[in-house]
Point group: C2
Chain length 329, copies 2
């Protein structure tokens, strides 16, 4: 494994220290238990938004801590859930009278540990579960995974929380955004997990993994490698069959790189997806293209579509000032 | 070659169309001859800043078009210089009475083609040549290459141009920033050039290329793979021997990913470089970490150091609103 690393056991801490120094105007790092919190104090009574999950998906979630998005993020080791004491300490540090909202990607470890933290907290707590990955059927026994759509939930809830929405309102808004958001990914390669020293799975040179998870989980099918147009069509058709957007429906189209796919390719994928939706009469009203929810150095990308209404557009457009996402500030 | 691509000949155009659609609030694409221009009209008499070069380094340069940075960027095919008619058309489109400043990375094709465009233009033109890559000796016959430090020159000149600095002032400021900026990179792998269908060079599993160029050019030496601490020390020592910053000197430290290196690693590299400079008494006063000047999907990174003074700090901090770099707006 040829990576910039000293030791698997120190990778996360060394990296977080660098992250906190590089963004010291925006965030503070609590080293033990590990969490990153926003530096700019929220207004009194603001609901504290907290997310977290295994590292290896950077900039998610630590890169989204700051004004207009998360109040704190709890990183676990690579592809490993953070522990309840991280969420508990983070919540105690940033709660400022309005209660706590956890934004949780649907993985068994994350769900269990956030639940334990919620039980230990002595303030009002709600949880929004993100399960945007449509590669698994809705009735799958472990449910659908949370992937790149998590960013959309965090951005929109962050804006609403900044405006003073209360906990009940944020919970219902979060559930609504999560329901309106679907994603599906495709891998062209596996990714190198530091603790393994190698890839989580191998793809033959002529194959792609349609519906891959952000930890390299098996998706819908191993398909023959094809042109970008054909791959993008496969992903868009899967989304279309899931949500059947009406003509005129406004959507956010998010093309997310999984790690080692070039921006040049991601913009090409965006162009092809934009064409697909436009031909169906769907209005691509907002967009985001780049590496936001990665799977270490996996080659591949995902498409996320969020059905928008005027409220969601306003909240998406609201100012945000974080290490990885910033506009209007 | 497993990439998101339809055909090598259409890759750049399809990608640029997607880029322009995703950032239609900020930029316009001129398809033939190819250039990207800022959408927000500059104030009358502002010097027009134009850069360009081969594609494959995204977001450089197209991602830096917008308020407070470039007025236009001319992308060539992957790793291939744009043609003089691109620079000429771009200059004619965005010149608004203050003349034109070309910011050119030091590669023979780029230099020649920007020179030809300058000769054809019938308005005042100056050129700032960026040659920040210290991997080659200063007296090398083709001179030193322009790499990730180009972003620093573009950002600082963009801010000064927005403030109304005239062409002569921008030329001297640009030369000063270019002189104050040094970079050196390291590759852990080659990169996949679409037209070749494979890597520009192969590195054995136990080797790194110290001083690699952003097209995979051979650097200083092929070194044994080592710990992150040792690799970063090698890069920092090379920079230190070149510029010998005094204790107390304020610097901008830019860690740039070459394509497929994770953010987690880049922040770790930043942490180690920050430690190195801090131990020498150098003040890391500003920082930038991420994939800004890439070499397609190369694994690796570069370090850039710019010696700062109060004026450069003020211009670095000034508002910028482009697809890839934005703050203060």
């Amino acid at each position: 494994m040829k990576k910039f690393i000293n030791h698997v056991d120190t990778l996360l801490d060394e990296s977080l220290r660098g992250f906190a120094k590089a963004h010291q105007d925006l965030v503070d790092l609590n080293p033990e238990p590990r969490f990153v919190r926003r530096r700019q104090p929220p207004s009194a009574g603001k609901v504290a938004l907290i997310s977290g999950g295994g590292a290896g998906h950077e900039p998610l979630h630590t890169g989204f801590v700051g004004r207009g998005m998360l109040d704190a993020a709890c990183p676990g080791q690579v592809f490993t859930s953070p522990t309840p004491d991280q969420m508990l300490s983070a919540a105690q540090a940033v709660e400022s009278g309005g209660g706590v909202l956890f934004i949780v990607k649907n993985y068994a470890g994350d769900v269990m540990n956030f639940e334990m933290a919620a039980e230990m907290l002595d303030c009002p707590v709600e949880t929004v579960l993100v399960q945007d990955d449509i590669s698994l059927p809705r009735e799958h026994e472990i449910g659908r995974r949370g992937v790149a759509g998590t960013l959309v939930v965090e951005k929109i809830l962050g804006a609403a929380a900044e405006e003073g929405a209360d906990l009940g309102r944020l919970k219902s808004l979060g559930d609504r955004v999560a329901d309106a958001t679907v994603s599906i990914g495709v891998a062209l390669s596996g990714c190198t997990v530091p603790a393994l020293g190698g890839p989580t799975f191998d793809l033959p040179p002529d194959k792609t993994e349609i519906g891959v998870g952000i930890h390299g989980e098996h998706g819908r099918e191993v398909a023959d490698f094809a042109s970008a147009t054909e791959i993008v069509k496969t992903l868009c058709v899967a989304i279309e069959e899931e949500i059947r957007p009406s003509p005129g429906q406004k959507v956010l189209l998010h093309v997310n790189g999984l790690g080692s796919t070039t921006l040049m390719e991601l913009y090409l994928v965006y162009e092809l997806a934009h064409e697909f939706w436009t031909r169906l009469g769907v209005a691509v009203h907002r967009s985001l293209v780049g590496n936001y929810t990665t799977a270490l150095d996996m080659a591949g990308c995902s498409l996320t579509l969020t059905l928008l209404d005027d409220e969601l557009i306003r909240l998406w457009d609201a100012p945000v000032l974080t290490p990885a996402l910033r506009w209007g500030c």
